[in-house]
């Protein structure tokens, strides 16, 4: 298979990325953006932000933004390849590690590593927010909407879906 084949590029990209995605999908967004928009020019900045919005709005694990990127690159085969490449390697890893640690281990290493990863994944998620905000918040109204949603979601226990829908309605009305 040549390196020109887009499906192969998708598999190698997301397969490798998944192993570095500490802290879940949101932490991997900056790297996806760097590869899909800056490096390979698979999508525009705007398309990437749209894909993130669609992935948030849709049911299922939000890692499925890779499905949308894969589709944009190589149609349905690309969508399937990207999804599997992102999910399968770490799932297998989890399977083998869980077999190794079948008994609850007395070791403090897992807890220590986990504690060490927390600040890193928060930093990564903050970077995701910054990169996405740079492409979505092009005017004052959009910036206000983002800020308002951030405040509401921080202080109140409201289903995020309502906030997303409210954003959609405001967009439809042409305010944002």
């Amino acid at each position: 298979m040549s390196s020109e084949n887009p499906i192969w590029a998708l598999i190698s990209t997301f397969g490798l990325m998944s192993l570095f995605a500490v802290g879940g999908a949101a932490a991997a967004v900056p790297e996806m953006h760097r590869i899909a928009v800056d490096l390979h020019h698979w999508m525009t900045d705007k398309q990437f932000a749209d894909a993130y919005a669609i992935a948030q709005l849709s049911p299922g694990p939000n890692v499925l933004i890779v499905t949308l990127i894969g589709y944009a690159v190589a149609g349905i085969p690309g969508a399937l390849a990207a999804t599997l490449a992102m999910c399968l390697p770490t799932a297998l890893l989890a399977y083998y590690v869980s077999r190794l640690l079948n008994r609850p281990s007395q070791s403090r290493w897992p807890g220590l590593i986990q504690a060490a990863l927390v600040p890193l994944s928060i930093g990564l998620m903050a970077a995701s927010a910054l990169i996405l905000a740079q492409s979505t918040d092009r005017n004052i109204a959009a910036l206000l909407l983002t800020a308002t949603v951030a405040v509401i979601a921080s202080v109140a226990r409201i289903n995020p879906l309502w906030l997303l829908l409210a954003g959609g309605v405001l967009g439809f009305a042409g305010i944002v």
Partner: protein, 168 residues
């Protein structure tokens, strides 16, 4: 179950596995979840694999993995087709722009909530690490692999030293 998970499947997964079907006790679930969290990758997908294989061996793992991923992947593919065809329609563009603004707001809120306990502890080293990763990835746009290869050992080392100091 996968379809119930708007914005995150975890809550529903816990409810179904622990409360509804009694496939696992709450402790087993937390333990499995902690394991999946410290491994890389989408942790709910990892959880499905580990959980399925604990019940029914490798076949169970594959079944849970496919069950979790297949329906939303299909929906996503359909949405991708719709977006490719109608993504340029003005109304849809405006709606999506509004949704993405809100989605970014939600992400900021999650970051804020996760950050509060760290800020409360006033752990200077931890906060510097967090800001360092944020700057390297978000502002300088350095490649993830390179940043993490430096940041992960550093963070583990610092955490280890700090715990030793607390214990001593």
């Amino acid at each position: 179950m996968s379809l119930a998970g708007f914005g995150g499947v975890l809550v529903f997964a816990r409810h179904a596995i622990v409360d509804q079907h009694r496939w696992m006790t709450a402790e087993e679930f937390n333990e499995t979840f902690a394991l999946c969290h410290f491994l890389p990758g989408p942790n709910i997908v990892n959880l499905s694999m580990v959980f399925g294989s604990r019940l029914r061996g490798i076949a169970g793992g594959v079944a849970a993995f496919t069950g979790l991923l297949l329906p939303p992947t299909l929906i996503m593919t359909v949405l991708a087709i719709i977006y490719a065809r109608f993504g340029d329609v003005e109304v849809l563009r405006r709606i999506l722009a509004g949704i993405s603004c809100a989605a970014v707001g939600l992400l900021i809120a999650v970051v804020f909530r996760m950050m509060t306990p760290l800020l409360k502890r006033m752990d200077v080293v931890v906060i510097i690490l967090m800001l360092g990763v944020f700057t390297a990835i978000g502002v300088l746009r350095w490649p993830l692999q390179a940043v993490l290869l430096v940041a992960i050992p550093l963070s583990i080392g610092v955490t280890y030293l700090m715990r030793r100091k607390v214990a001593a």
